[in-house]
Symmetry: D2
Subunit: 166 residues, 4 copies
């Protein structure tokens, strides 16, 4: 696969502007999702069809949230709706092929007042194959519009679960 030299906006590795929260240490901040690349993940070119990477990212974010005590069932019990998406993106470095065993490493890289950024790196051994991100918000029922959501102000204890302190 090509390694095109001239573009690579490196969206995924940009620091989150305005993210002043510093992560603490000793918290379960990084989760790992192991994926065996199946025949059906691959396209006629024999490599992973890229929407599948986003399927992995979504699964990895659920895994991360679960590990940090912020899984969907927990959030719902607290009156939240979940962690819907505002923005996603991915930068592809090397093609991933049928039979590869990869790991998706996921962590929250920062919080805004009403959103969080999850970053994912897909590794084959020590090689970075691709990286991606998801900006999510903490959804709560809109007080004025039944059936609609709005982005909640992220509470400090929610950030703390992912290893961030105010």
């Amino acid at each position: 696969m090509a390694e095109p030299p001239d573009l690579h906006a490196h969206t995924a590795s940009l620091p989150l502007q305005g993210a002043s929260d510093a992560p603490t240490h000793g918290q379960p901040r990084v989760s790992v999702l192991e994926v065996h690349v199946e025949f059906g993940h691959c396209d006629p070119a024999g490599i992973v069809w890229y929407p599948n990477f986003y399927e992995w990212f979504d699964a990895a974010s659920h895994r991360l949230a679960e590990r940090c005590g912020a899984g969907l069932h927990t959030l719902r019990a607290q009156g939240y709706v979940g962690l819907p998406l505002m923005q996603t993106g991915s930068t592809y470095h090397r093609p991933v092929s049928f039979g590869d065993d990869v790991r998706v490493l996921s962590q929250v890289s920062g919080f805004e007042r009403k959103s969080m950024r999850v970053e994912h790196r897909v590794m084959r051994g020590d090689e970075l194959m691709l990286e991606g991100f998801e900006v999510r918000f903490l959804g709560e029922p809109h007080p004025d519009h039944p059936g609609r959501l709005r982005a909640a102000i992220i509470p400090a204890d929610f950030k703390a679960r992912f290893g961030f302190v105010a």
Copy 2:
């Protein structure tokens, strides 16, 4: 669904930096993919699970390329391998639900020396539901590494097919 006010990087609508090629007029530059949102596109929240949007984008790019005379079969007949991905991204404005009829409007927004940027807008009637982009390169066999690809320098006639002149 929420309309979070404070983030929205608007990646998809940013002008492509360094894209000096001006589009001509009268070319078949915009393609439309109509999508009926199926039950199976939707997640337990009752809205489209976001990796599906990328499936639509990929289909829409193939449709656009086909319409512009640069479909996969044509490219292969010219010695190219296709239009692999370097980067993708999407910004979500409103949730898309089961039963919605949407249109994916796609166009090339600019070329770099060795890449192109395709932009997609998903509309429900006049409402912009989400927007996304794909940065693709024109793949050719690597002359020194059999079985690998590299990014070709985009020829002028390729740009012209999408409505761009040097």
Copy 3:
């Protein structure tokens, strides 16, 4: 692709045993779902990866039910939960390839007391590429177990919507 001569159980074309209901005529009994085979539908062998056919079947059944006045929103307004699956199957006659335009023709072939059988044929022009079926039931909330479903006795007016009379 092979045309293996010796197996083909023809599950999909078997008459439904015990289906004594005769279809009337002049009803909107057959629906058509048009599918353009996308790059992403195809596997490394360059043909449609078979789980996609079931995605089409599910979409086609929703389309059929909608056309017959038994779409999901209508069913829910009547206290039903939907049309969950009991059994599905498919027999593959010819491979379907990237770029093919196919039609999925769907109809109910018979009712049991508490189930219905939907049959699907995937045609490329006049060629039958594959055929499949789904056995579905009309789900209603279980009176004794909150949160669970049970199969309702199919009412005569439901059958009539699909062109069957008692």
Copy 4:
């Protein structure tokens, strides 16, 4: 979910007619694929959307073949094309939900002259949630039609890899 009492054709558990080959013992005949049910596997009803089960079956068959020394790379090295599908089917006993951990147990249940039948059971703990099957053939290039396949006569040593002797 309902347990409809009156249909259940038990396709998946029917003995393969004409399958006279007796399995030997001590061979690695059963493979296990562990699946954690992701949010994205589930539909608006909150349960696994059924085409996903076939995705698991396909992955499980590749896993089984790999374990038995008949993986895709091995087959191709021997001049075969792979194990394309002739027929598939599934019977659903209980709904599978977001967060469930299930195992897909897979084995070859019999061979015909030019086909094999793979059976899959999806277990949550000791509960059988659903069962399915795939009839596959051993594809080889058609000698008279370049670019087409035909079903090879299954050689004895191929059967032996899955624990069957003539």
